[in-house]
Symmetry: C2
Subunit: 191 residues, 2 copies
DNA sequence: CGCTAAACGGAACGTCGTTCCGTATGGTGG
DNA sequence: CCACCATACGGAACGACGTTCCGTTTAGCG
């Protein structure tokens, strides 16, 4: 059985095709127009109706997650590796945050969406937090128990802060999110 | 001539009345619904048509500025005062940033709007930057020339960073913008 | 080959920002 | 006191958008 994990029942071939086309089109559209490109635009470029769009991705969060899942997983998996391979836990934390920032600032409107209180993005928040906060927490507690950073900041708060600093990082020459994040991480140090 | 500074030609009484009603209604609506409350809602609560709304405040930025102008001016004017009355320039900078943060986090959606690339908010960005960046720059250069903070961060960048950290600060009980901002300001210190 | 569940397409609805023009009215000169 | 008109008003109308819904098509199986 060389098929992927689809135990219950297969999807129709056209359904699978349309879903993959939508994913490809969305990935391209996100690059140029950000994660808020109109539904009709994506559907039209994929050659499907809006009904098909919504059937495959009921909320914009579902589409965004599907497009970026691989990169987010890669970022999450890099955490333990960095912790094992760095001189200090603080260095590992800084490196990992850099990875996260690099990911975020290249995605038009993603950092904004993570802060949006729009109900259609709730799943997106949840996924990011579920996947990345534990990784960050491990790095943070390692650095804290080594006495390298202060212990009164939670991983959740740190992630939110770093994410916030990435908002508007593209489309604003004159604003260097990386520099501000490194300032923030520096401020985390135990003096 | 006991009238305020209206040299050219007076406005009609109903026009002035409607504008003030709109301002009052908007101030109240911003408190509960944020700066994105629908135009129709504000107009209806003020008992005017949407045409009247747009005549007085062509863009949302105009309305937001009109509502918050006093507070922004007060913040701007506090800068030099704090610089004169503080022990160190860094302390003055920190105090002033606190004022700014206190202002921002109590305004639903304002920090988000400052980062929005929506054309209707352009005037808002411009006003904030025009009014506050110079004040911040004075504090920052004072601290930098005293050797208290690093000199490779611009006032613009710092303001943007602090503003970003205030996004979503209300409506998120696990996120303390003040703490993260103080971390950032701490990271600014010359070690 | 025919049948049916699965999937499709896009018209239609509600919300919102914004524009526009026919109507009403405040203030002034006679 | 009145008539006039610049000023201001109101809300219908338009376009963009997210979302829903249902009549139609089609893939896959027996």
């Amino acid at each position: 059985m060389p098929e992927s994990s689809a135990p219950a029942h297969r999807k129709r071939a056209d359904a699978r095709r349309n879903m993959e086309t939508l994913l490809d089109v969305a990935a391209a559209a996100f690059l140029t127009g950000g994660v808020h490109v109109p539904v009709r635009e994506i559907a039209a470029q994929a050659g499907v109706g809006v009904g098909t769009y919504y059937r495959h991705f009921p909320t914009r969060a579902d589409l965004v997650i599907a497009v970026y899942r691989h990169q987010i997983e890669a970022c999450a998996e890099a955490g333990p590796r960095l912790l094992a391979g760095s001189d200090t836990a603080h260095a590992a934390l800084a490196s990992w945050i850099d990875l996260f920032v690099d990911f975020l600032i290249t995605k038009h409107g993603l950092a904004e969406a993570l802060r949006s209180d729009d109900a259609t993005f709730q799943t997106l928040h949840a996924y990011f937090l579920e996947r990345l906060v534990p990784v960050c927490a491990d790095l943070l507690t390692a650095a804290a128990s080594a006495g390298e950073v202060r212990a009164d900041v939670t991983a959740y708060e740190l992630m939110r802060g770093v994410g916030n600093l990435c908002i508007g990082a593209n489309s604003d020459t004159g604003y260097d999110a990386r520099r501000l994040v490194s300032l923030l991480i520096g401020g985390l140090r135990q003096q």
